[in-house]
Structures are given as C-alpha cells and as structure tokens.
C-alpha cells in the first residue's frame, strides 16, 4: 500500500508539468508588430570623422582607344598566287 502511494506521488509530480505545458501551448497567441519605427536621428555613432563630409569624384584621364587600322605587312600571298598561276 505504501509502495503504491509512493508511485502515485512520483508519477503525479512528473506528469503534472507536462499536462500544464500542453495547456499553456494551446493558450499561446503570437502577435507580430504591425509597425516599427526607428529614429535614426536618435542613434549615436561612436568614433571620429576622418573624411570630409561632402561627396567627391576623383578625376581621371579620359581613356582613348587606338584601333589597329589596316596595314599591309607583306605580299606573300600574292607571290604564292604568282607561282600557282605560272602553269
């Protein structure tokens, strides 16, 4: 009898949290924020400014492309054709 009682108490102690948790899970309602605003002006940045504040564009030289224009290096093809056309 005493053993039965002990077993009952132990089971009650361990199983009761599970049953309450399930009930809790059922009762949880998730709500998402519909609107969130961040005030940037209110943000504080730590550190020192080392560059000037206004925007600059670094000047560079204009690139000019030079094309390989027509150039006759030799007349070897013409010489070869002369031989083929001999006879």
């Amino acid at each position: 009898m005493l053993n039965c009682l002990k077993l009952t108490i132990i089971l009650t102690v361990f199983l009761t949290p599970l049953s309450t948790k399930a009930k809790e899970n059922k009762n949880v309602v998730y709500k998402y924020k519909k609107y969130e605003s961040i005030d940037l002006g209110d943000m504080q940045i730590k550190g020192e400014i080392v560059a000037p504040g206004d925007l600059t564009v670094k000047e560079r030289d204009r690139r000019s492309f030079s094309r390989d224009l027509l150039n006759r290096i030799d007349f070897k093809q013409e010489s070869l054709m002369d031989i083929i056309e001999l006879r």
Binding site: R62, S64, F65, S66, R67, D68, L69, L70, R72, I73, D74, F75, K76, E78, S79, L80, D82, I83, I84, E85, L86, R87
Partner: protein, 458 residues
C-alpha cells in the same frame, strides 16, 4: 648451249620489234600531231617499265610536254619513279611544293639545267621556297638568276607569244624581289623596282597597289593617293582593287582630312555593297552545278554582261591570268584530238580515249576550282575591306570626340592642293603632257594636299 642460242634468236626479234614498235607508234602519233595520245602512251609504257628511258624517249617527252603542258606527267607524280627529263623534274618539283615538301621540291628543281626553257620558272619557285623559309638572301639571288634566264630565253625565241611570256616572267621575278624588300622594310629599293617595270607590262596594273602601299609606309600620302586613284582611269576599268579604296581612306585619315576619308568610305559602300551581294548570289547558285564555274568562265562577254556587268569584269580579270590562258588552250587542243580519234575506224590504242577523257576532266576540274577560288576570295576581300573601312570610320569619330573634349579643332582654313606639297625626287618633275597620249601619265600622279593635323583652340 644450242638451246640457249636458239631461244635468244627466237626471242630477240620479238623484243627488238617490241621496242621498235613502241618507238614507231610514238613517232607516228607525233607526226600526226596527236601529242596527247603520244604522251599518254609513253607515260603508260614508262610506268609499267615496258620501255627504258633512253635519249630518244626523253627527247620525245620534252617535245610532248612543251606542246601539251605538264599535266601529261600527272600519273607519274605521286609515285616514286623519276623520269630523267628536265620538264619532269620541274613538274615533280611543283608537285612537292604544292604538297609542302619544300626540301624535296628544292632538290628536284635544282636538277633543271640552266639552258632549259623551264629554268627561269624553276628559279622563281625555288626563290619562293627560300622566302617561305625566311632565307631572303638566297631568295634574292635566285630571283636575279630568274630574271637573267628569262631575258635569255626571250632572246632565243622568235614567236611573239613566247617572248611576251618570258618578259612577263622576267617582270614577275623583279616584282618578287620588290616584295622581299617591302617585307624587310627596304622601301626605297622596293619602290625603285616597282617604278622600273614597264607600263606596257601585263603585270603593271597589279603593281599600282603595291607601289601605293610602299609610298604609304614611306609617309608620302599624296603619292599613295595618286597611285590608288589611277584605278579610276577608263583604261583600267577592268582592274578593280577594293583595297585601293581602303588605302585612299587611310591616306586621307593620316592627313587628317577626315571628311574626304568619310566620302571615300561612303562611296565604297554604295559602289560595292550591291555588287558583292549579286556576286555572292551567283556563287551560291553556281556551286550547286557540277563544273558550274568552268562553264561561267567560258561564257562569252555578252552572255556574262547579261547575267551581271560586274561579273563580266571579274571573269575578264580571271581569264587574263597565264594559267587560264594556257589551260584553256591545252583543253581546246585536247578536244580536237579526241574528235580525231573518234573518226578512226579502228583506233589501235584502246586505253588512250579513256585516259584522254580523264585528262580533260582534270583540266576542267582545275579550272572550275580556280575560278571558284578567285570569285570567293574576291568577295571575302570586299567583306574584309568593308570591315577595315568601318574601323577607320570609328577611329575618325573617336578623334573628333577627343578634339571636342580638348576644346580644340583642326586647322582647316587653308587652300587645298599645292605643288609645294608634292614630294619629288630629282628625276621627277611636273609635266604638262600637252599633245601627248594622255594615258602616259598613268602611274605618275601625286596629290598636293597639305596635312590638316594641326590643332587650334576652338
């Protein structure tokens, strides 16, 4: 012993008669001027080693190859057997050259004796081989020899056509020399040779463009323009070089006369675009027919003009080449011989008609291939020049943009053309040509334009 002697006595007449029989056949055929049949018969006998290469046989072969061309040796060229005849050495040398066995070609060509009619040609082919091997010293030496031999041969012949052939060969040897100088950038020497070629030479119209390029590289853009514009003369209307237009545009560009350059480019597109499209269409239609290009090249001038006037001019240019003239001449004679054989009641050499037909087909196939190659090469040239001109146009736009960015402009408030701008040597001077045949001036034009490349502030 008696058996051996009697055996020899029985066989000797047969062997002797066989040799006498072959010799008689060849002599009879040559007497009747049936040189193709004689040549094919001899080559067949030599290939099958039924006759030896004695002096008479070799002499007959030389005569035959002179009459019918070197095509007669075609059955022997691929094999290892050599006929000890100079014309065969030359034919074999050419065969090795075309198959890129250059050392074997040189060996064979060196065997042609210097007194032979083909010696000058052997020299020019050997020179070309040495040039391909970048041995320009040896090439130049052989070209000098070629020129000397061609002049000697010209002096030995009385027939006008043969004299003209050797003069043309002599001119070609000099031109090849000029091209080697051009390649080595010895431009003064190259120009001297181009200017020394007689204006009556068949090769002279083709040299204008090469001389123009030489002057271009020497920086004489005015003379380059003068040479390039010579192709617009009515006497040279059958000679068209799209490259001359590109060279004109380039010369104007170098003188910073960009608007003139643009005009040349626009005129090129207007003149050549439609013509090139028509010729391309004709090529595409003709290549579907067997030997279509051969038939095209044998049409009359009026028939060609009816198809396309530009095609007529292109075919005329192709027909002026030596190889075409020679091959058409040999083909005509071959056809005549075939007709004569057909009239025989009983032709004694059964293999000859089939061999003649094969030779005829070879000639036709070669002419067909060469015509197609020239036409396709011409269209490709127009397309590549068109691309180059587009490049020049882009470069002009680029330079104009540069000026805009720099807030500058080219100086243009000057007169066009002045005698002071003509570069001339001590032996060149302004000639009025009053009362002279106007075409004498061809090839000596020079513009007198001043360079427009000076920049000023806008």
């Amino acid at each position: 012993m008696k058996l051996i002697i009697s055996f020899v006595l029985i066989l000797f007449p047969i062997i002797a008669n066989a040799k006498v029989g072959q010799d008689l056949i060849v002599r009879k055929l040559m007497k009747k001027k049936m040189y193709y049949s004689a040549g094919l018969y001899l080559i067949d006998e030599l290939r099958n080693k039924r006759i030896a290469q004695d002096d008479r046989v070799l002499k007959n072969l030389e005569t035959i190859s002179h009459k019918v061309g070197l095509e007669i040796y075609t059955p022997m060229l691929r094999g290892k057997d050599i006929i000890n005849a100079p014309s065969f050495y030359y034919a074999k040398g050419l065969f090795y050259f075309q198959n890129k066995s250059l050392n074997l070609a040189l060996e064979m060509l060196a065997k042609v004796p210097s007194k032979h009619g083909l010696a000058a040609e052997a020299s020019i082919v050997s020179a070309q081989i040495h040039d391909q091997k970048d041995d320009s010293g040896k090439a130049l030496m052989l070209l000098d020899e070629c020129h000397k031999l061609a002049q000697e041969q010209k002096g030995q012949h009385k027939t006008e056509k043969v004299k003209r052939f050797y003069q043309l060969l002599s001119d070609k040897c000099r031109v090849h020399k000029a091209r080697i100088f051009y390649n080595d950038r010895r431009l003064e020497e190259a120009r001297a040779i181009y200017e020394a070629i007689d204006k009556r030479s068949y090769i002279w119209p083709h040299l204008l463009i090469e001389n123009a390029w030489t002057n271009y590289h020497m920086g004489d853009y005015n003379r380059t323009l003068g040479l390039a514009i010579t192709y617009k003369s009515p006497l040279l209307v059958d000679y068209f070089y799209p490259e001359a237009e590109a060279l004109m545009a380039l010369s104007y560009f170098r003188l910073c006369l960009w608007e003139d350059s643009n005009i040349v480019i626009e005129n090129f597109y207007k003149h050549y675009k439609k013509k090139a499209a028509n010729i391309t269409q004709i090529i595409n239609q003709t290549k579907k027919k067997e030997n279509g290009f051969y038939e095209l090249v044998t049409l009359s001038k009026s028939e060609l003009a009816a198809i396309d006037p530009f095609l007529q001019k292109l075919i005329i240019q192709i027909r002026k080449k030596i190889k075409f003239n020679l091959d058409l001449h040999y083909l005509k004679n071959l056809k005549k011989e075939q007709e004569r054989i057909k009239r025989f009641k009983k032709w004694p050499l059964p293999k000859i008609p089939a061999q003649l037909e094969e030779l005829r087909n070879n000639y036709i196939a070669e002419l067909n291939f060469l015509t197609q190659a020239y036409m396709v090469s011409f269209i490709n040239k127009i397309n590549s020049i068109s691309f180059e001109l587009f490049n020049i146009k882009l470069e002009i736009i680029s330079r104009k943009k540069d000026l805009l960015y720099e807030k500058q402009k080219l100086i243009s408030d000057r007169s066009r053309g002045n005698l002071d701008n003509v570069n001339r040597r001590a032996d060149q001077y302004f000639w009025q040509f009053h009362g002279e045949f106007w075409a004498d001036e061809l090839g000596d034009y020079s513009f007198g334009l001043q360079s427009n490349c000076e920049k000023t502030k806008e």
